[in-house]
Symmetry: C2
């Protein structure tokens, strides 16, 4: 032996050990659904997680077994993560907003052994219990005397020793809420989770430190809560959880607990703005707001920046653990105009160490990073999926690239910009029309509440856009008015061949437009003859 450095498996329990040892008194605050507020700390989470690990072993849960949760954000949910992972299990977070069919499918596909759930979701449990074939134990997180979570762990002492093992063992399972076919499970490993957590605390992603106070609005069931339960333990940050997403509660928590970092989807901020406008009460300590899940509108970024916080756009997906890119301030930030700053922050961000991105055309040729060439976005890296859970083949190509299903442009300044989903792009005369850009332009028109653009088969151009519009209450905006507005924002050949008004548009469980349903619904739609002739 030549000599060398120490062995150290990158296992998740090291995070909770570190947090308990070095930042044991740093608080974990929970605002529960019933309005109560409780406080524990990293030492308390570690203690309870050891007890839960012991309880799970006693229930017959074994190494690699899946332990499911169906719950909002609270300290017990966090304990369930570290407890199940600590005894060698695999945490499976279930999104309660999924359709019944999907809820049945994923719990059975995952072969979940135990389900920890909030009583708020008791109706789901009652409805689906008979169809869930593998779940042997149901435990409510709520305080139910001898039946609930607290009683379960109170029976154990806290001298449990974490299960050791290789770092490539699985620790977590998250299903995609895909728009087509059955959901697919991404099986995170201890190693991938740890490298992802180390990458996340960096200044160019979440920028977390022991002095940070983090309120993740993003649910624990949404792509591993973007890794924050792990990253916050690594940093020793204070965590503030709310089981309800009422902006009045969130705003008060942010001020009472001096929250410095928040993270959530754009709609969280739309509600918060309404709260601020209505009450004049605004979060006062925020230093960084991270927005992901879908693109944040420019006006939203502008307004949050005006509140004195840095706004980080995050792009990623369940398959990327989920960090793919993160917005951050370039070296010349201070000398940029506000407009240039907004231009930068409206893009999906730049590429952190670990992640590689490339954009390819339909023939698989890699496109230049010229800020113009749009193509299919591919990703690879240590926290990117290789093979879906239970799949019989890899989800990556020979070069190790995973196809994201997004259409994107890479800019010379290192930023990435999503322009569409590859299934949603409208292919007209050999060129691509971005359905997303068309929709964004349309919602900028007065009277338009929401819009969806889909491609309709066309004998000459292959596809042409149909724009479906939901009017704002009381609005009577006309197709001509919308077209006049669009003309100012998109190329003339992008203008929709037809505009139809609808009462509502279908969405996925995570709030995204369900274009597959729209394409089904309008499969036999006939575009006006005038354009067909064109």
């Amino acid at each position: 032996m030549l000599g060398g450095m120490q062995d150290f498996e990158l296992r998740v329990p090291r995070l909770i050990d570190h947090a308990a040892r070095e930042h044991g008194a740093r608080e974990i605050v929970t605002h529960w659904a019933d309005g109560r507020e409780t406080r524990t700390d990293w030492a308390g989470i570690a203690r309870d997680a050891r007890k839960l690990a012991q309880a799970l072993e006693r229930m017959g849960v074994g190494r690699g077994d899946r332990v499911a949760t169906l719950a909002m954000n609270h300290a017990h949910h966090l304990v369930a993560w570290y407890g199940a992972i600590g005894m060698g299990g695999v945490v499976h977070t279930i999104n309660p907003r999924l359709f019944d069919e999907q809820l049945v499918y994923i719990a059975n596909h995952a072969e979940d052994q135990v389900l920890f759930y909030d009583m708020a979701f008791q109706p789901i449990v009652d409805r689906l219990k008979s169809q869930w074939t593998s779940i042997r134990h149901y435990v409510a997180f709520d305080d139910l005397g001898l039946q609930g979570f607290a009683a379960l762990i109170d029976r154990e002492d806290d001298d449990y020793e974490w299960v050791e093992g290789p770092e490539r063992e699985p620790c977590m399972l998250c299903y995609t809420s895909g728009t087509t076919g059955n959901p697919k499970g991404v099986l995170y490993e201890h190693r991938s989770t740890m490298i992802h957590a180390m990458a996340e605390v960096a200044p160019w992603v979440f920028d977390l430190a022991p002095s940070s106070v983090v309120l993740p609005v993003v649910p624990l069931f949404h792509a591993a809560a973007w890794g924050l339960p792990f990253a916050c333990a690594l940093a020793g940050a204070k965590l503030v959880y709310s089981a309800v997403n009422d902006p009045a509660v969130l705003c008060r928590l942010m001020n009472d607990e001096k929250v410095t970092h928040s993270a959530g989807v754009p709609t969280v901020w739309l509600s918060m703005f309404q709260h601020i406008d209505a009450t004049g009460e605004s979060p006062r300590h925020l230093k960084q707001v991270t927005i992901g899940g879908s693109a944040a509108p420019r006006a939203m970024i502008d307004r949050i920046m005006g509140m004195g916080a840095t706004v980080k756009h995050l792009w990623g997906m369940t398959e990327t653990s989920p960090i793919g890119t993160a917005g951050n301030e370039p070296p010349d930030w201070a000398s940029m105009t506000r407009d240039a700053q907004l231009d930068r922050m409206c893009k999906q961000g730049s590429i952190p160490f670990g992640i590689e991105l490339q954009v390819i055309d339909d023939d698989g040729a890699v496109l230049p990073r010229d800020g113009k060439s749009s193509g299919r976005l591919q990703v690879r890296g240590p926290w990117v999926v290789k093979r879906y859970f239970g799949a019989d083949q890899d989800a990556v190509d020979a070069g190790g690239w995973f196809d994201t299903g997004d259409v994107a442009v890479l800019h010379p300044d290192g930023t990435m910009q999503i322009t569409d989903r590859s299934k949603d792009v409208i292919k007209s005369g050999g060129e691509w029309i971005s359905s997303v850009e068309l929709e964004n332009a349309a919602v900028g028109c007065a009277g338009v509440a929401e819009a969806a653009a889909i491609g309709i088969a066309h004998p000459k151009w292959d596809e042409r856009p149909l724009l479906l519009v939901v009017r704002k209450p009381g609005s009577a905006v006309s197709p001509d008015e919308i077209n006049a507005h669009l003309r100012k924002h998109v190329a003339k050949w992008w203008l929709p061949d037809a505009i139809e008004f609808v009462d509502s548009l279908p969405h996925t469980a995570t709030g995204k437009l369900l274009k597959t349903a729209l394409r089904d619904q309008f499969r036999d739609y006939r575009l006006p003859d005038a354009r067909l002739a064109g």
Copy 2:
């Protein structure tokens, strides 16, 4: 196969690939010894490193072979690191300040194949060449027409592909400049170096981002320059190197290049203060100053904080890659008094994720983290040595702990405080007297330039302190005056039994007091009878 995440070996060349791809235009500035200033960027470093890797292969250097450098900080030296590591070699940085005997020993022990060196060190090369038994190629970094480094790489093209392999392979070799026995080599691995680099960019260590501009005064041959060549590539930070340590040059560079981060030993700042006092010119853009190598005096930390920068105390050693602890601001920093802030920052810092510390007594019992119990400091973690290069046994105990040779206290707030080296502590009547605290108290006395405290054998108390003092020029400070000063700062039983004045004190190659030499010199010293009777 259940499914899982992508394979990704943590290999160092990924850093330079990332930096070149995502931050290719971020500059690397060098101020050379001859006063010239040149600029390249991460893309340029990557290109040159590929050429050098090819050149090394052509010279017959093979995988795992050691490639040595004897040089100051500059872009060519950085290229040598990435080039040698990229072709599967092991970079061995040699400290030119070592004694000839050590320089001969370590190059032969490492079996270095190639030596890259600055012409400034040509006298060393000329003097020792005949005793270096394994070096086959000598290449000067300076521009020497057809003979030098530039000519060597200019002959190659830049399409070299990095050598792939397991992440536990070695990439770097650094020798300790120990005060006793032969230097010992610490063999860093790709994996340990990568995890260390990821840990270093975190807000609680170097806090590096793409917008950072880093001037590491710490030499590339000092414990891998504290990992900054790797951490800066990971972050995509701009690097500013100076091959000379003249404070006027450093200060001008800091202002011209808008340096935000600097790192070096305390003496660097003593010279900088003299420069500031003499010229009124002061670094204007510094946000963080990291001080390591030895403890920074309180007044130094205070003055740098007054310049508007965060001061981070770093503790570590070659055996810890070298980050062991890093000073950082606790959650209640803003509400702390300046004195409390200084108290905190005078300690060696808190423990980052990855590192575990414990303090044990002479019987091996683990002492509490009570801020009082002083004992031998032990460390373990993924970037801590397991076995020295070429050693036939591990350097760690059965629990995986490495004994640092330091004496320390762990505080309840999570910080660590070095009180002495275990070999230097003075054992008097079963209790320990910290030689370092005695010395620090003594240099606070007017007229004292430097002081060293060593233990002298004593029939009753085992050991008693002898204080050796170098007076400031023109001073005639007396033993009584020194004792009167010490009385105000240390316990009465810590007062030295004797004070002797000397013209100078011996130091190691890295500027630390050479206590072994002092103990040898004063082995037969007789303490005054008055105290012997006591």
